[in-house]
Symmetry: C2
Subunit: 254 residues, 2 copies
């Protein structure tokens, strides 16, 4: 049985709490948060507290707080030689180094509170300052997911950057697609199968191999037609930038 | 029974041929192509020809040729009052107007010859110059897909442009993500669940609602960290451009 305490009551705290609670081999000892109303969702009073300086004994303490609160709260808590980890993609492990045993437990997915999540497929990126604690984190992670990776702080920073491209920026391209549809009274749902297929393709091809379209073909006719159609100057600039980058990738200069 | 002839032996011709052949209510009368070797894949000799000027009688003739061959081949063929359509997203219906009955049968998906396709979910965008022929195309399309849309030439042009954003450009963002992973010896597959989830989200939220990340939050700290990490000037420029556009969308200027 691994004893875990969760610090925070936001998205990640909520999903970890639900997932841990389902496992017979994990006991959630305590949930700690400044927001008393939010704490109510985490079970009976004796298992929650808003006092960060008075924590029950656990094997692992998971800080699931906003990035900019991680360091200060970590310096506030007293955890009696337990293992302290955070869940942040963009925060270095060293922000917890005031504590002898520290690490990172970063689930690489985009969570929102309302949407149920099956952790089983979510990659969990682990780091710890000793081999023993890395193994303890692996044990915990393997109870909720089958995709476990050892990722150090430098790699995690890059991974977070890559995630911005494939998640945040991709979603913005979807938004631009939906705006173009709206202007022309086309239902955006018509693009959904193409969007799903584009994402599916990278499971069997590299994105380099999967690339298609006028930029890849060097089809300047279509490119200049498209640029003419685009009235929004931001979208035009994005089209030019990405089209140009695709052409550079495949060796054709604009 | 709808009698169909297919002009072309490429990706679209191949997939349409396979799908039509499965239906009891569609007869593929003939496949026509200049490439004799490619024709061999389309069944017995008496059902294929490389002579575009001597076609068997059909209800519908589908031009599945490269965009720039559509108009010239359409002017070459003699089709005795059959309905002539093309399958192109970016070509106006009027390129076929030499023929009294003409239209468009555009499957909105990214096809490659080797990958099997289930047409049932693929949106098919239809246009014709008479109501009767639109109905005939609807009848044909509904035999292979449950997603049928009436889309005129102007809308189709916009849809094709939107598809470049959500498919070609999105795939290039995946490529950039994979390059960042490669530089840091991180397996790219680690990002696959995030990519799939990002695509899935737009089935229940608008992309506007689904947006997350430093650009949306106006988190300038993370943005400038990310820009510092990016060494490739193209990728840096793309990051700035997209981040800026997200901030404009949500009302925060860089
Ligand atoms: N959401 C994701 O998709 C995702 C994915 C992977 C990793 N992460 C990481 O997981 C961590 C938590 O993210 P989240 O999405 O769960 O955030 P969230 O939903 O915004 O929750 C943040 C939590 O931190 C608390 N908090 C903020 N400042 C605090 C302070 N100064 N003192 C005490 N508590 C404070 C908040 O309390 P209040 O309710 O009182 O404000 C809330 O409980 C972050 O490090 C994030 O980078 C997030
Ligand atoms: N691929 C897609 O994802 C997709 C999706 C929706 C719509 N479309 C549209 O469907 C149409 C066909 O695309 P595709 O992907 O099937 O193209 P493709 O695989 O490149 O095949 C093009 C076909 O056109 C023939 N062709 C080219 N120029 C010709 C000419 N001057 N005379 C006679 N035949 C000629 C080619 O013959 P050779 O083999 O002899 O060159 C080949 O059979 C295009 O209008 C395209 O825009 C494609």
């Amino acid at each position: 049985m691994i004893k875990v305490s969760i610090l925070g009551t936001g998205n990640i705290a909520t999903h970890l709490f639900k997932t841990f609670s389902k496992s017979d081999e994990i006991e959630v000892v305590q949930v700690v948060g400044r927001n008393k109303k939010a704490l109510l969702a985490f079970g009976p009073e004796e298992k929650t507290t808003s006092d960060f300086s008075n924590l029950k004994s656990s094997d692992i303490y998971i800080i699931a707080l906003s990035d900019d609160a991680i360091q200060s709260i970590s310096e506030e808590v007293k955890i009696n030689n337990g293992l302290l980890v955070h869940t942040s993609g963009s925060t270095s492990m060293s922000q917890l180094s005031k504590h002898g045993r520290h690490g990172v437990f970063y689930p690489l997915q985009s969570f929102s509170k309302s949407k149920a999540i099956d952790f089983n497929n979510i990659p969990i990126c682990l780091e710890a300052n000793t081999k023993e604690d890395l193994n303890l984190l692996k044990k915990l992670a393997s109870l909720i997911s089958k995709n476990i990776y050892e990722i150090d702080s430098k790699q995690r920073k890059s991974l977070h950057l890559a995630a911005v491209f494939v998640n945040n920026f991709t979603n913005h391209l979807y938004h631009i697609g939906s705006e173009i549809c709206k202007e022309n009274t086309i239902p955006f749902e018509i693009l959904s199968p193409l969007i799903q297929e584009t994402a599916k393709k990278i499971e069997s091809l590299t994105p380099y191999e999967a690339q298609t379209g006028p930029g890849k073909r060097g089809d300047f006719n279509t490119i200049s037609n498209h640029l003419e159609q685009l009235k929004n100057p931001e979208y035009k600039a994005i089209y030019e930038q990405l089209s140009n980058s695709i052409q550079l990738t495949y060796g054709k200069e604009l």
